[in-house]
Amino acid sequence: MSIKRQAIAGTLESSDIQISIAQGASEQNEIYLDSPVKHLFGEEIERLIRSLLAKHALSGVVVKAIDKGALDCTIVARMQAAIYRATENDINWELE
């Protein structure tokens, strides 16, 4: 899949995460994470984000994630919504 436009999902409220996705300049996926628990779960959150990008076969994407203490399920949901909007592609929600 490819990025057709910049997209955003999620809010900046407590226990949520705001994800914005855009097409990057290089081939690699770039992730900018800002989180109050970065020192504890930063790597884990990044790994989760990368795995979701890989799942949707996305590369050369810039993801900016502003985390306010979201649980994994929230991160997955926000990532999927952001990807869905950015690729203008229908996700088969039942398979996810």
């Binding site: 910049q6 900046l12 407590s14 914005s20 300049a25 900016k64």
Partner: protein, 357 residues
């Protein structure tokens, strides 16, 4: 039962509500709320939103182009999630409007609270900090610039070119002789009679004969609605001075550094007040970043300095004889083309409006 339900309903925080500035009563309420928080309600606002509890305003936020403004929250709600609600709402609303890279002007004492919402400081003066939250943002823009970094002495010219005249061509030609590579930035903001794409193309065509010139888009980072809002408005000198400093420190600290720019060339500005002030600030500020500022006298035709505004006046009067003397062949050909008709009509409309005022 019914009563408790009703009370609850009244007390619940509603999502943000749009307020129209035409509504004088509402406008006054917002104005006094902002005054309590040392903020000003200026007239350059596209959309204004408020947060209310029990009809009382407890928070505000506004959007103008891609800049967020007037963000305040009542002291009673400090420490709650109200500010998060406002910021979430505004960023979301902007995304829906297609504005993906947002800017905020704030005080040096308050900028850290915006870092919490993903904003990053990109330039500052003593009184103001400019922040942005783009996914790609300034770093992305500079990465793009760096792809074409050239060795040797690099100079820079920033132009709006509304439209490209022989005066601009003269400035760029003279500047290109004084350095190995000349970076020409064309202001991207679409606030001029000639749309950005056209201005950019005319510059490109007009300097095509010069080998060492690279023409680029200034985007949001050189004289834009974000870095220099008052350039496009007629506002107080204090604000203009502050904006000059922000725009130039961003240039000196980031862009000039990324491209190894050591000289910035400007044309003398006897006419326009804002640009003259900008040039003066440049002469005092840029040398501290290792950028030398060199000023050229304007090229004259028949004893008058060439200016883009006089070109627009001749366009309005359909005085093609005079235009031929002021424009390079490339710009002149464009004006005669079919594509230029909407632009010419726009200029005529602008003149009609001015005459009515």
């Amino acid at each position: 039962m019914l009563l408790t339900h009703k009370t609850k309903f009244v007390q619940r925080e509603r999502p943000m509500e749009r307020v129209f500035l035409k509504d004088q009563k509402q406008k006054l309420a917002v104005k006094s709320f902002l005054q309590e928080h040392d903020l000003r309600l200026d007239s350059f606002i596209d959309e204004l939103y408020v947060l209310r509890i029990n009809e009382k305003i407890v928070g505000t936020g506004a959007i103008y182009e891609n800049v967020l403004k007037c963000i305040a929250v009542s002291d009673l709600l400090k420490g709650t999630d109200s500010i998060n609600k406002i910021m979430s709402f505004l960023t979301r609303r902007c995304f829906d409007l297609g504005k993906t890279n947002l800017f905020i002007y704030t005080k040096p004492t308050a900028y850290e609270s915006f870092e919490y919402f993903g904003f990053k400081k990109i330039a500052s003066s003593e009184n103001v900090v400019l922040m942005e939250n783009g996914v790609v943002g300034l770093d992305g823009y500079m990465a793009k610039l760096k792809k074409e970094v050239c060795s040797g002495q690099t100079g820079c010219v920033v132009v709006n070119c509304n439209p490209f005249t022989l005066g601009h061509q003269y400035l760029i030609e003279s500047a290109s002789k004084l350095c190995d590579t000349l970076q020409v930035f064309v202001v991207s903001e679409d606030k001029s009679s000639f749309p950005h794409d056209v201005r950019f193309e005319l510059v490109k065509k007009g300097v095509a004969h010069l080998d060492n010139v690279i023409v680029r888009k200034g985007q949001s980072y050189i004289i834009s609605e974000a870095t220099f809002p008052s350039y496009f408005l007629e506002s107080e000198t204090e604000a203009v001075k502050e904006h000059c400093k922000i725009d130039l420190s961003l240039f000196g600290e980031k862009i000039a550094k990324a491209l190894n720019i050591s000289k910035r060339f400007i044309g003398e500005e006897p006419l326009n007040g804002t640009t003259a002030l900008y040039n003066e600030t440049m002469k005092t500020l840029l040398p501290s970043y290792g950028v030398e500022v060199l000023e050229f006298k304007r090229k004259e035709v028949k004893g008058h300095p060439i200016s883009a505004s006089s070109v627009r006046r001749h366009i309005n009067n359909a005085n093609f004889g005079a235009l031929k003397e002021l424009l390079p062949q490339t710009s002149y050909d464009y004006l005669l083309s079919e594509a230029a008709k909407p632009v010419i009509n726009k200029i005529k409309e602008e003149y009609q409006e001015k005459n009515l005022v």
